[in-house]
Symmetry: C2
Amino acid sequence: MITGKNYIGEELSSKGDVSFKTFDPKENKETAATFYEATTEEVDAAVEKAASAFKIYKQKTDSEKTEFLEAIAVELESNAEALKEIYRAESGLPEGRSNGEFARTCNQLRAFAEMLKEGSWVESIISNPEGKPDIRRMQVPFGPVAVFGASNFPFAFSTAGGDTASALASGSPVVVKSHPLHAGTGELVSEAIIKAAKKTGMPDGVFSNLNSKGIEVGEWLVKHPKIKAVGFTGSYKAGTALTKLAADRPEPIPVYAEMGSINPVLALPSALEEKGDFWAEQYAGSITAGCGQFCTNPGLILGIESPAMESFVQKLGENLSNLAPSVMLSPGIEKQYETSKAEILNQEGYHEVSKYDGELQPNFGRQHVITVPGAEFLQNKNFHKEVFGPFSVIVKCKDKTELAEVIQQLEGQLTGTVLNSEEKELNEFATIIDSLTETVGRIIYNSVPTGVEVCAAMTHGGPFPSTSNAKFTSVGLTAVQRWVRPVSFQDWPQSLLPQALKDENSLGILRNINNKYTTDSL
Amino acid sequence: MITGKNYIGEELSSKGDVSFKTFDPKENKETAATFYEATTEEVDAAVEKAASAFKIYKQKTDSEKTEFLEAIAVELESNAEALKEIYRAESGLPEGRSNGEFARTCNQLRAFAEMLKEGSWVESIISNPEGKPDIRRMQVPFGPVAVFGASNFPFAFSTAGGDTASALASGSPVVVKSHPLHAGTGELVSEAIIKAAKKTGMPDGVFSNLNSKGIEVGEWLVKHPKIKAVGFTGSYKAGTALTKLAADRPEPIPVYAEMGSINPVLALPSALEEKGDFWAEQYAGSITAGCGQFCTNPGLILGIESPAMESFVQKLGENLSNLAPSVMLSPGIEKQYETSKAEILNQEGYHEVSKYDGELQPNFGRQHVITVPGAEFLQNKNFHKEVFGPFSVIVKCKDKTELAEVIQQLEGQLTGTVLNSEEKELNEFATIIDSLTETVGRIIYNSVPTGVEVCAAMTHGGPFPSTSNAKFTSVGLTAVQRWVRPVSFQDWPQSLLPQALKDENSLGILRNINNKYTTDSL
């Protein structure tokens, strides 16, 4: 049952006077529960509990944390139907998506559990050549982490999503600022985490969940001296504001903000000539996937003018017109979509490709694609802006030189994609492809950017402004690196050394010993 | 010969009107050469050259970069006498130190060369389970790096020091802002780097060296849109100013600022009872090493009141009085030393232990140690301040509880040290030792904090304010991680994949393939 209360550690709490409700965008009406906005006192209590829990939680072995993460997945699965139901109500997302994202979230928790079982993630390094001090280094968690739930992934990027899973794996307690659009989903997911924490003997305070419709709770959290890092997925505006807030603290802390991207797609001539229809179909699907509300939505398609490109554009337009629009996450997001789109459509110099003009239910998003000549795109930065929703700009460059200039001008992106049908063309465009690669965190060949695998090799990150820190990923196993720092132990007694650094490699992990990688003991 | 000019890539340049001279603090007179402050135009030219060089340099193989780094060491060695002579003149540091730091600097370059030969530093990860996209990730350099020379290590933390060596190893061109105290040393070191770059076929612009006595050149560098990261060793004031400047850029960039520390030493009762005289001798040496001008200088010694502690304090005082003072790096630094010390000595509630009162030559630094009761230290933060020079505060706590409070209150530190003679005492003080470990980047057992090994396991870093980013080290092989970011290649053609990610592991490096570490090919 959804109580609408905050989880201050294991305790349900509703001390505030401010309340709000969530909204079913498909039914176009409020959902049943009433949520209580966390007070400063509640924020403080959650962080204080997290700081106390940290002293205990950071000492938990990888194997104990494994049990905890696996238990969270089990608790989620034991309440799957209720979770998916409130997820769908609060997001308008369809059943298939609720199933997929739910499975992804449980798998993600288990993937981090597997990483802990393997154990080498602590990056153990031992240097003790003869005649020198014995120095041993590993990664350790540095304190409570604040996680901001994302609007567009109520399961996978929110309460028990990648930020929380990776932070808990690292040994860091988590305080979630629940996303106001899906506070009910957040509460039920939190309930599962709290149950798992109790069952596996984790300290009270290892996890808290705070409701908030305004910006204050998030600000208090980021400014709290006992919060040591922040994970965020959302808008550029909110992400940069939080990053600035954290940098201005007496003790600055890192904010890992994933702030979105227009995900340029470079359609090389051969791809459009040989497989134009195929890509027109694939991209109609990718542009409208999740009603365009993915961080990796292809908002920009770049090519060189040609009859093949004209035909691709036309096909893409036709395909888009034939797709039924879907509901957006909330009335506010639908309104924002129309506003951002209007700002771009207010410019001169573009052409309509496809604009869904039929009647729509409330809160549904109209897919919309335009073309812009390369020269126009180069001189009008408004066409570079991200529009959160099923909107894309196709840039028609007059030649390779203009295409190179366009790519040179792009800001940092989560992904870049190259479509190609002839290997030799890759050499001709090598400099342009290299330039695109410099701009992105993930470069994709002959596919669509939507879809982000949870695996060790994933980078869901990229140069500013796609994120606040290009050195890390928010998806995949190396996401754990965000919450740890190295400590070196010099001539430290064996009895006091952490397990991962003792002479005997009882964990069987990979270690760098005097510049050789080995699983041997010393 | 020292020309006093800037190196804009391979070109010597002196377009400015502003000039300055360096100063021999031991002889108390200016040195011969005149240095020309870089102009905005020269800063811009250096960065533009670096940005162009980046396109070529980042493509160099690890084996080509190895040759470059080794060639720098060889060029330095071929001009060793002239280098050490100007080093000693510009720093006042003695011959033994010039030899030691010179050897360290060459060894450091060779250590990064060895890391490149081994090759696994790129952190290659391949995830391609059946039925999923093929994703391959590695670390790549992200652009030109600005390095600020440090006053206290003209060789090892300056022009060809750890920041430069690690950045060049990563594939990033470097623009050095030379430290004004040792601009002559900087120029001769730069000459060696430029010669090595030419001999090994590196692009013009891979390295530049800018003279500057004021703060403008550094600010222009940090604000230049084509500078992508900054390495800095120096004061808290300058480090935080640069960090803020970089955060306020339209495209914020990381600043890795190592800003110093008071390096607390926890002298447990057993250590003072059983080896008090030994530690009094060791610490007299450590406090005055390099005239106290090391980032790891032990500025704070913590213990619990006892006759053994009294005797340690007395012995330490005697030893310090018997040591001959040495010259500081410059008149300005000596003056600043006296000023910072006076601010502390203006407080009430401390006792003198040892204060060198004899006659001194100009620019020599007087070693000075005081004791402060724990209660006083807890309530007066002035006693926590770093004094750059041979000054230390000994805190006498009345009991374990007060000691715990003192450690709890400390800010982030580069190092912490534990002195102990009885293993069971470590258990009694386990919580306090853990609390100290949370505060530092390197925790040392039964030694002195001065001395920082260049090895893979070193962390010369620590929580704020000892550095601006606790996740990285400025000394040791993992220093390279500061200049790189991950890129993931999805379904990328073998022909275009970087060598480290191809199916065939021709580099023989360690890779994570589907969560197994292996040097096998796919």
